[in-house]
């Protein structure tokens, strides 16, 4: 399993080199969004309206961070469970989103969209929220401030740790990893 440092915005050429199980250290700008923000984004797309952020080549991190303590960029910020964003993800991938970070497996429609639109799904460690927060150097709300923890934030990250769970080649670490170790 390779260890790769990836810089955003992501290019397909970078993603082609990734395989499931690879450790990725992500650097650059990423955006946050979870249930409520995704619903609003997709409502806009369905009504042919502009999104508040350009998702082309971007990374969406499924997180609702804890409040920042004084002197910190952000509070604890681990991933939330991704399947809840499954109904919304294919539309964003179609618009050019290149990676999603979350935890837990994705549904068939998202896996298909990942392949079709040449994107990746990265898994961060759920519950490693304080550790992950230390890789986030800056955070600012760029949309939906009224949603509080669920607002869309622009994060500047350095060596944000994650694992490739679904690669551009159609592999799924959840499926293959479990099959490898299953005895029951």
């Amino acid at each position: 399993m390779a260890q790769v440092r990836l810089y955003t915005p992501l290019k397909v050429a970078d993603l082609e080199k990734l395989h499931i199980g690879d450790s990725v250290l992500l650097c650059g700008v990423i955006y946050t969004g979870r249930d409520a923000a995704h619903k609003r984004l997709v409502d806009l797309l369905e009504n042919n309206q502009e999104l508040p952020i350009d998702v082309t080549g971007q990374v969406m991190y499924y997180v609702g961070p804890a409040p920042a303590k004084p002197g910190m960029a952000i509070g604890s910020a681990g991933p939330t469970t991704s399947y809840r964003m499954d109904p919304y993800a294919p539309l964003l991938l179609e618009k050019g989103l290149k990676a999603m970070i979350g935890k837990g497996p994705r549904g068939a429609a998202v896996r298909d969209a990942i392949k079709k639109y040449q994107a990746v799904y990265l898994a961060a460690t759920g519950g490693a929220a304080a550790l992950i927060a230390n890789s986030i150097k800056k955070a600012e709300i760029v949309a939906y401030e009224d949603l509080g923890a669920e607002a869309i934030r622009k994060l500047q990250v350095e060596d944000f740790p994650c694992i490739v769970a679904n690669d551009i080649h159609g592999n799924d670490l959840y499926e293959q990893g479990i099959a490898r170790y299953a005895e029951e």
Binding site: A36, G78, T125, A128, Y174, E184
Partner: protein
Amino acid sequence: MREVQASRITSAVKELCMRANYILPEDMKAAIAAYRNKEVSESGKSIFTQIVENMEIAERDHVPICQDTGVAVFFVELGQDVHVVGGGYEDAFNEGVRQGYREGYLRKSMVTDPVLDRKNTQDNTPAEIYTRVVPGDKIKITFVPKGGGSENMSEIRMMKPADGMAGVKDFVVERVRKSGGNPCNPIVVGVGIGGTFEMCAMLAKKAILRPVDVRHPDPRYKAVEQELLTRINKLGLGPMGMGGRVTAMAVNIEIHPCHIASMPVAVNIQCHANRRAKAEI
């Protein structure tokens, strides 16, 4: 009759909210350390390393272990000789949650209406407070901040008595299998068997309050706990469900008498950030 000021409950609750979210109980630290050595998959080993490092950062810097600082759930043993004065009993808990979540920089995760409005209440109230009146003049509070990701993987089933222990075991194992990588494995599995519908769910929740190194006092249920843990760890889910040998660190069962027609079984899933803290007034 011992008089206790409501403000004492508030300050105890405030402290509990912060402590529980920053520091894992000793039994959980020991379990994570022990199971870390049992994991063989590459992704699993790296996840364990992160879990341990994260736990150390949270405790040292007084920041939440997980950003999901949960629903504030309290189990209280209220001495029957206690008289709470100077404010409402439940108000005192909610005020403690309000203060603890604000001053502790904990995330507020409660919405007003479950379906229609879903507006954040902004202070993580209301708390869920389960009080049992017991002999004595003390107030013993156990606080559990319950995260949404693992809670969502829980299930209750009204089984038939004829399903027997084999049925119970299969239900628990299948519940964990279906949860896959969603609930932040390695998990702790709380199982409630018996009671009525609501009692059964409560038993499963109480089961996760029990330290993971304490087995059921009835040797027959102790054996079931051990067998279920072995079976669950053969599912291959591993840490975060990406493959491995450590899917769960404990299965805790709680039982209760039930109706002649019934055999309800509830499974409450708890993530590896199995947070709980106690206080006594």
